[in-house]
């Protein structure tokens, strides 16, 4: 009885833990790094698990997912720095999911300002 319990629990924990290893690979995103230029419709937010911003590219609104808040702030990108309506260029990996307009972003350019959010991925 105890033996079955132990084995069963170990297996359950192993299963529950396995997908965690997928975290820092950007699975669900294209391998390819691409650029997009658009206008800011929702400014940088340094709240939540990742900093975010929304930009409009042609007629589509894209979710720009940045690094965790503290890391995004260290790259120099702060809330309120880029006004709504300004043009920005973002570089990153787009979602592979059809219809999902999301980019995991490694770099942001706003005029002459450059923000290297994930320098090691560039």
């Amino acid at each position: 009885m105890t033996w079955i319990l132990r084995t069963g629990l170990a297996a359950a924990f192993a299963l529950a833990a396995a997908p965690v290893f997928a975290h820092h690979g950007w699975s669900g995103q294209e391998e390819k790094v691409s650029d997009m230029t658009g206008t800011v419709v929702q400014g940088v937010s340094l709240a939540g698990p990742h900093a975010t911003m929304k930009i409009k590219v042609k007629d589509e609104v894209w979710d720009v997912t940045l690094a965790p808040p503290a890391r995004t702030a260290r790259s120099g990108l702060k809330e309120g720095l880029i006004p709504i309506g300004d043009t920005v260029t973002v570089r990153g990996n787009r979602s592979t999911e059809p219809g999902r307009h999301e980019m995991k972003t490694i770099y942001v350019r706003h005029g002459k300002d450059e923000f290297h959010v994930y320098p090691d991925r560039e």
């Binding site: 529950a16 965690v20 997928a22 709240a47 939540g48 808040p69």
Partner: protein, 163 residues
């Protein structure tokens, strides 16, 4: 009110705005409290449930049940008190997230199971006398359901961010 409406309301509530204004480390700190709550909750439940399933029979059930249920209660309160602020930060991001729709019903079932187990004759008698085999089996069934529901809740909760 639909779930999407409720989520939009929570995100735009005073709570959501406050948590978003707390600085770049706030989410990490609240997340830490959530994890500590889950550790207390599930760690305590695991010990009690394994005892109900036949482990450590040399330890009287009443000796274990008192501290484990108290710690589990504290853990649950911590998890809820940190979970709602975490959800309020960007609530609408979670619309359509299937893991959320597994997690909350699993918590509801887990709490229902707690309530049902605590109502049994076996649970109410366990501090006064030794239990009959049939009563032990009843509590063991509750322990299996407990582990199933809580592990489902924790696993789907962990997966929310990976969707």
């Amino acid at each position: 009110m639909s779930l999407a409406h409720f989520f939009a309301w929570l995100e735009h509530s005073w709570l959501g705005a406050s948590v978003r204004s707390l600085g770049v480390w706030s989410y990490g700190v609240i997340n830490l409290v959530h994890i500590l709550g889950i550790i207390l909750l599930f760690g305590s439940i695991l010990i009690l449930d394994l005892r109900l399933l036949g482990a450590w029979r040399q330890i009287p059930l009443a000796t274990l049940s008192q501290p484990t249920t108290r710690m589990a209660q504290i853990g649950f309160v911590l998890a809820v008190a940190s979970g709602i602020p975490m959800l309020s930060v960007k609530t609408t991001d979670y619309i359509g997230n299937p893991f959320l729709l597994i997690k909350f019903p699993a918590i509801a079932l887990a709490l229902l199971n707690v309530w049902l187990v605590h109502r049994t004759v076996a649970w109410q008698a366990h501090r006064e006398r030794d239990l009959q085999p049939v009563e032990q089996r009843r509590l063991a069934q509750g322990a299996v359901l407990s582990l199933t529901f809580w592990l489902t809740a924790i696993t789907s909760g962990r997966m929310i961010g990976y969707w």
